[in-house]
């Protein structure tokens, strides 16, 4: 058959399909990039946990030491306890809110949704600080509104404080996942159930719950991962209650024990990775549940249910607003709780550590860079993976690598990056390889890179979803017309996906502003950051300035968010004219 097939000699073949090769190379590059910034640092972290402080291989000795030290070992139980408690509360509250938003005739759904989403823009450190002003020793509730009414002390410091902060942090996530799941339903199922004479309760258990099963699973594991790996809130309100995330920080920053930091990181990584795997499986099943021809459900009027939904949403919204109001108020008060004069004293950041406005500017710069580079990289990689033909192995490998960062806690990324980028070089099979990325250590570049990787997966999934909605044949058509794929990428793919691209950029920006976990290991004296400043000022007892800095971060994120809405509206009007019939 070889004679029949071989129409052209191999040399000409190679010249013919230049574009195919270009695409393949780019795909390879995208995978290689992820391997370098995700896999290699992780390996470095893993190997560090198997060495002693002098760099000699000691096997699992460090782990043995870890598990024989009660102070360290106990943190595992503590971490699991606060995360599970957070998950239960968050998912229940989130389900109620999502149900009200999707399945009732609640008035002002947009307003309620925006309020519920607000904590997403907040550094978790501020969650803790706000709670201190509410429930701390001199808190508003503890002192009964400055003595106006009898106070209640809930014993904030410790697990209680951590759980409340984490619920505030994870509630929007649970709410978002569950409203997507609740919206994806088929009205015909409810009509069938009703026509068969089933009661509302029965319908709820027979149709509603099974329909959102995978959404629920996903919400549970996302909340768990977030609470399990968060560092900000426990750092502020944890008190003497040790959890894994704060242990890593204490080992590395407090005791300079990098080896034990690596060990705790690996311990933190295992449940997170497991939760990640379960979540991915659930997500895949959820997608399969949706049918193309589903009929959207329109909630029926029901005075009792609608009233209950309104009451519930008002209650939750007031709690969230009350929290933010307290934080803003506290940041403006001269000396809490003694001198209640309002002013901008704490916004000068004079006489406090952390870097003040320079840190804030740095954070904004870092968030901008992360948004620009992160969006370009994620969208480009998602495009190559989604829109290339063939190369299935390479595409699947890249896809897996792109989702992997979702399983990595920020602290683990931060610590792994210290090890990887700080290493002067490696001895591989007796050959010394100098570290070509060593220059990045201590610069803005490494901060941006850590953010790009930390928030890569969610952005990647957003981009992939948007790309999947494009006709598979766009690439084929332009190929048949002799137009190179990169022209079509810029002329068609990018403009059509612009809303998703802006959403990804927005996500990168807001998270980079608020995050503290990865960057707290990576910032340097030249690159102070707002979120790190909050942690440091809080640590030094300057709670009011810390609170003020937190409020500023939220303010910037809200402003950027508003700018984003304006922009998307403008973009929709101009570049998405074609969507208007």
């Amino acid at each position: 058959m070889a004679e029949v097939t071989g129409g052209l000699p191999a040399s000409r073949l190679a010249r013919v399909d230049v574009e195919g090769w270009l695409k393949r190379c780019l795909l390879l590059l995208a995978s290689a990039w992820l391997a370098v910034v995700v896999i290699l640092p992780l390996l470095q972290l893993l190997s560090k946990s198997l060495l002693d402080n002098q760099g000699n291989f000691v096997g699992l000795l460090n782990y043995a030491e870890y598990f024989s030290t009660p102070a360290l070992r106990n943190s595992i139980g503590n971490s699991l306890y606060v995360s599970v408690a957070t998950t239960i509360v968050s998912v229940l509250l989130g389900f109620g809110f999502a149900y009200a938003l999707t399945r009732t005739n609640l008035p002002g759904k947009g307003v309620f949704r925006s309020i519920a989403m607000a904590p997403i823009f907040t550094p978790t450190l501020l969650n803790g600080i706000g709670l201190i002003y509410l429930f701390g020793r001199k808190g508003l509730i503890t002192r009964g509104f400055f003595g106006a009414i009898p106070g209640v002390d809930i014993g904030l410091y410790g697990s209680t404080g951590i759980i409340i902060s984490e619920v505030l942090f994870t509630f929007p996530q649970a709410m978002m996942i569950l409203s997507v799941a609740l919206r994806m339903t088929d009205a015909r199922l409810y009509e069938a159930s009703e026509s068969l004479g089933a009661s509302r309760i029965r319908t709820f258990f027979a149709v509603t719950l099974p329909g959102v099963k995978y959404g629920l699973i996903s919400a549970v594991f996302v909340c768990f991962i977030l609470a399990f790996t968060d560092f900000g809130a426990p750092q502020v309100v944890g008190g003497n209650y040790n959890i894994l995330a704060t242990d890593i920080y204490k080992q590395v920053i407090g005791q300079q024990n990098f080896v034990m930091g690596a060990v705790v990181s690996v311990v933190l990584l295992i449940p997170t990775a497991l939760a990640f795997i379960v979540d991915r499986i659930a997500q895949r099943r959820q997608v399969a549940l949706i049918q193309a021809r589903s009929v959207p459900l329109v909630p029926k009027r029901d005075a009792v249910l609608d009233g209950a939904a309104l009451g519930y949403c008002v209650f939750i919204s007031l709690l969230i607003l009350g929290f933010f109001a307290t934080a803003v108020f506290a940041s403006l008060v001269k000396v809490w709780p003694y001198t209640l004069d309002l002013g901008l004293w704490h916004y000068s950041f004079k006489g406090t550590g952390g870097g003040g406005y320079q840190a804030l500017c740095n954070s904004i710069r870092m968030a901008l860079y992360s948004a620009v580079f992160g969006t370009a990289l994620t969208f480009g990689a998602a495009y190559l993976i989604e829109k290339s033909r063939g190369q299935n192995v390479l595409r699947q490998a890249s896809y897996f690598l792109s989702l992997l960062p979702l399983a990595l806690p920020g602290l683990v990324i931060g610590l792994a990056y210290i090890f990887f980028f700080n290493a002067p070089g490696w001895d591989v099979l007796g050959v010394r390889i100098p570290n070509p990325l060593n220059w990045m250590y201590g610069t803005m570049a490494i901060l941006v890179l850590s953010n790009v990787v930390h928030f890569y997966s969610v952005s990647f999934l957003t981009a992939t979803t948007a790309l999947k909605q494009l006709d598979r044949e766009f690439e084929t058509v332009s190929e048949s017309l002799g137009v190179p794929f990169y022209v079509t990428f810029f002329r068609v793919t990018v403009p059509v996906c612009l809303p998703a691209i802006l959403e990804v950029a927005m996500y990168y920006f807001a998270n980079s502003m608020a995050t503290v976990s990865a960057v707290i290991f990576l910032y340097s004296a030249d690159t102070p950051l707002a979120s790190v400043a909050i942690a440091n000022m809080d640590d030094a007892g300057d709670i009011a300035p810390a609170c003020a800095m937190g409020v500023l971060v939220v303010l910037i994120n809200v402003l950027v968010r508003m700018l984003y809405s304006l922009l998307t509206r403008g973009v929709k009007r101009r570049s998405q004219r074609w969507t208007i019939r």
């Binding site: 084929t476 048949s480 017309l481 074609w578």
Partner: protein, 365 residues
Amino acid sequence: MSTGQEDYLRVEGVTKRFGAFTALDAVSFGAAKGAFISILGPSGCGKTTLLRAVAGLERQDEGRVLIAGQDVSQLPVSKRHVGIVFQSYALFPNLTARANVAYGLSKNMKSRRGVNKRVDELLNLVGLKNLGDKYPGQLSGGQQQRVALARAMALSPNLLLLDEPLSALDAQVRVMLRTEIRDMTRRLGLTTIMVTHDQEEALTMADRILVMKDGKLVQNGSPWEVYDEPKTPFVASFIGSMNFLRGSFNDATRIFSKGLVRMEVASESASLQGSVLAAIRPEDVLVGVNGEQGRNVFEVGVRLVEYRGPVYRLALDLPLGQSETAPLIAEVPAEKARRLRLGAQERVKVILPPERVRIFAEEAV
């Protein structure tokens, strides 16, 4: 198989496998310049894969593809000069109809005026003169289809490939576009291959129909051949409907027999002996002949009369023995059915004309 040297397009022994699955199994055919070829078959038969192999979107594992005498087997789609229209049209939603049509032109033509002139020509060709500034989302399905067609024609392709181009349209628009597309390709002398699962589309539009099943080319013939002289029971039942009766055949006497039924066969068919399938189309069954004693006259029971507008469809029972019957479907023009006052539970006589009865070697239908 007509793979003569004069063929403009030649596909020779093309085989394509996806893992263990053979999507195309040594498919060969040819098409004269300007011919309209239709590839017809049930879903999963490999018809789209064949089109994609011709286009260069799938690289065949074996065999070759020649266009205008040139072996293009190893060329990517961009070098084969083919215009493709997809089922979904794949119009770029953010570009106007004009910009869509001009998409491949801008690179190949130097002047802007040249591009504009060509786009006007193409829009005229597909009858969308005044709609060039609309976005695809503002056009109807039929109009979108025309834009896709104009875009595929922009670079004056050697070959026009249509992948189920009409299946997303309303029945009436579909019928209208059928004629228009056929007129256009005829006028331009454009060699065209269209994949479809709609037999009526294939019968009305194509010069030749390729019927495929399980990755194999089962029959390659004119619409008339494929319908009136199907090569296999599969082709016979896939295009139009067909009554089948299993029985034995004596080639010497040309008599088919099954139980009480003895039937003369006068159509041309390969010499077969023993166990066979006899086949006749429902419209060839002549119903309501009284007192005729001629050849192949049978008395049958009427089980069901179904009104279908222009025709009545009768479900008949052909007696094979004491109580055994074989189902037989007949189609009677409405006018004749009204005259005969056909009703269920009656008995009528039918003729199965010997020249319309075909014999096939037994095979799974």
